[in-house]
Amino acid sequence: MKAAAFDYARAGDLAEAVRLLGEGEGSAKLIAGGQSLGPMLNLRLVRVGLLVDIRRLEALRTVEEGEGTLRYGALITHSEFEDGRVPDAGNGLLRQVGGGIAYRAVRNRGTLGGSLAHADPAADWISAFTALDATLQIEGPAGRRSLPLAGGLLGAFTLDLGETEILTAVEVPRLGAGARWGWHKINRKTGEFADAIGVALLDEERGFCRVVCGAVEGPPVVLAAVAEALRAEGRQAGRALVPAAVAEALPALDPVGRHLHVVAVQRAIDQVFGR
């Protein structure tokens, strides 16, 4: 299908993008890579009055290395993570995740910011960046603010972002050199959205351990009790808690769905400990 008609403007800078969104009075939308919005416009699931193209905003393509942190511009593409063209705050995690999203032709245009703003529960970055404890940088008419990703995801497809706000960057603490991670995405065919995602991070240096159950019905679920057991008592203790933790966090899952999620999380944990 073809998209319904809309107007198009390319923003010259961030301020102009914010202004254009404001002038659109709710009918304007940002487009970055267009890899989620494009299909929805073509299927006419989405109609917009004005598309504000931010893809050329250089300011959003920068990676800032801070002390113990990395801040990724919202326009970094999935394939730039995959190719290691940006430093990896997750000791290789982001490279692996980026390379497992969709297909190369989609990864070349799809952006980190677009994916997080779209907040599809089955998408990869929301789970990975929840595990890394990311904070989002947001620019809007009222200035700048930051928003922890974990609290900012309100539900499926819903990030706590105003219609005239722009996600500009994603800041994460850098994992220590000895930190280990596990990532397991279950999907039927390469490149598809996940049926289940498990992420586990263990950074003993920083005393940071997080286990995430993703591709669920809403925002990714942080399994705090599992992480605590992993950190304090080790692999088996953490692993053993997974079924109960998943069942408790996601009571509405059918048995097959629950099994998939349990397996994804357990395999991620196994990866942390080298299987």
Binding site: F6, P39, M40, V63, T77, A105, R145, A156, F157
Partner: protein, 388 residues
């Protein structure tokens, strides 16, 4: 009529200038305006790969890339490789290995293959399969395609063929990595979440064609009081975000449910029936509605029941619904549950506020900011159910 925008780009080495409608995707522009019909369209939503072209040296889907977004870009289609020995070798190898039958997928296959052999010379079969998985072929069964790509990737690795195309340079240039960095403004407090309401399942099974869902919540007012509110269908509808009743005639209701799910907005307009049973303090709402934008249709029914719970009332709702049309493609039941949970929470909050007699219920027809198509379904049924 929306405005056209100027576009200047390079296609297969030649400069092209045109005025395009913003909604024109690159594939339509190439095929329609430039007559380059080698680029094929299959799904038009990014999945099949038939439309894959090179944009600035990288494969991309021309069906979900708007032409207007390619101003200044260097586009290369399957027609644009006559001077490229590596592409010539791929064409030859596809032919030799029976990598095509009808040929519909072939232009996209060749573009993706050209990228794979440049980026991953020497790729083995498994890697080739992984890398080519975004290009679907309904004819060949892939054996020949994989063999062809693997052979040419091997030749590139041996230095027999040049990788040629620049790889990795995206339009806006490589990302810049800078040291230092401004410190982040203090994180805002986490947003207040909707009231937590325990949800428990009342339905044990759903029949095949219908989706079923059950939710319950408690409000701090006795059943008799809550029931009075439930008899006022318009008041109840006012508590459901996005619902608007236009007419109530006895049992019959007419109205609309507006839904917003991420970027998707829908408005299901339709009719329903409300049959309250005061003796049992329960009722049935049924209805169906059409979203004119998408042509999607939702049908559903909801049974509700009030029961005393301590000093308050437990409101239980069982919903069955069916969504047909384009929006149904997005129907993942989990999303509906997530949405329904939030809808229920907001509904409960508005209902309690209304019962407190304050202006709290005065957040009436605002859409709850979170509904997928799928959700739309839910909405519609719930709204019917509660009176929209």
């Amino acid at each position: 009529m929306k405005r056209t925008v100027p576009l200047a780009l390079t296609v297969n080495g030649d400069p092209v200038e045109a005025q395009v409608e913003p909604r024109t995707h690159l594939a339509d522009f190439l095929r329609g305006a430039l007559g380059l019909t080698g680029t094929h369209l299959g799904c038009e939503h990014g999945v099949c790969g038939a439309c894959t072209v090179m944009i600035d040296g990288q494969p991309a889907r021309s069906c979900i890339t708007f032409a207007a977004a390619c101003d200044g870009a260097e586009v290369r289609t399957v027609e644009g490789f006559s001077d490229d020995p590596t592409m010539a070798a791929l064409r030859e190898a596809f032919s030799q290995h029976h990598g095509l039958q009808c040929g519909y997928c072939t232009p996209g296959m060749l573009i993706s293959a050209r990228d794979v052999v440049a980026r991953l010379p020497g790729a083995d079969e498994q890697r080739v399969r992984l890398e080519m998985s975004g290009n679907l072929c309904r004819c060949t069964g892939y054996m020949g395609i994989v063999a062809a790509v693997k052979q040419v990737a091997g030749q590139v690795a041996e230095g027999v063929l040049p990788p040629g195309l620049p790889t990795g340079a995206s339009l806006a240039g490589l990302p810049r990595v800078v040291a230092g960095g401004v410190s982040a403004p203090p994180a805002a407090p986490a947003p207040e979440r909707l009231a937590e309401t325990p949800a428990e399942s009342l339905l044990s099974e759903a029949d095949a064609s219908w989706q079923a869902l059950a939710e319950s919540f408690t409000v701090g007012h006795p059943p008799a009081e809550v029931w009075r509110l439930f008899e006022d269908v318009a008041a109840v509808a006012g508590c459901l975000p996005g619902a608007e009743l236009s007419e109530v005639a006895g049992e019959r209701l007419t109205g609309r449910l507006r839904v917003k799910f991420g970027p998707i907005r829908g408005a299901f307009e339709g009719e329903g029936r409300h049959r309250p049973d005061p003796a049992a303090q329960s009722g049935l709402l049924q209805g169906s509605g059409l979203d004119r934008n998408s042509g999607s249709r939702a049908r559903g029914e909801a049974r509700y029941r009030l029961e005393p719970a301590g000093a308050g009332t437990r409101v239980s709702v069982e919903v069955r619904y069916q969504l047909t049309g384009p929006l149904a493609q997005f129907g993942r039941s989990g999303l509906v549950r997530d949405f329904a949970g939030r809808l229920t929470a907001e509904f409960a909050r508005n209902l309690s506020a209304r019962l407190e007699g304050g202006a709290g219920a005065a957040r009436p027809a605002r859409e709850l900011d979170a509904v997928s198509l799928t959700l739309s379904v839910i909405w519609s049924r719930i709204r019917r159910l509660f009176g929209g």
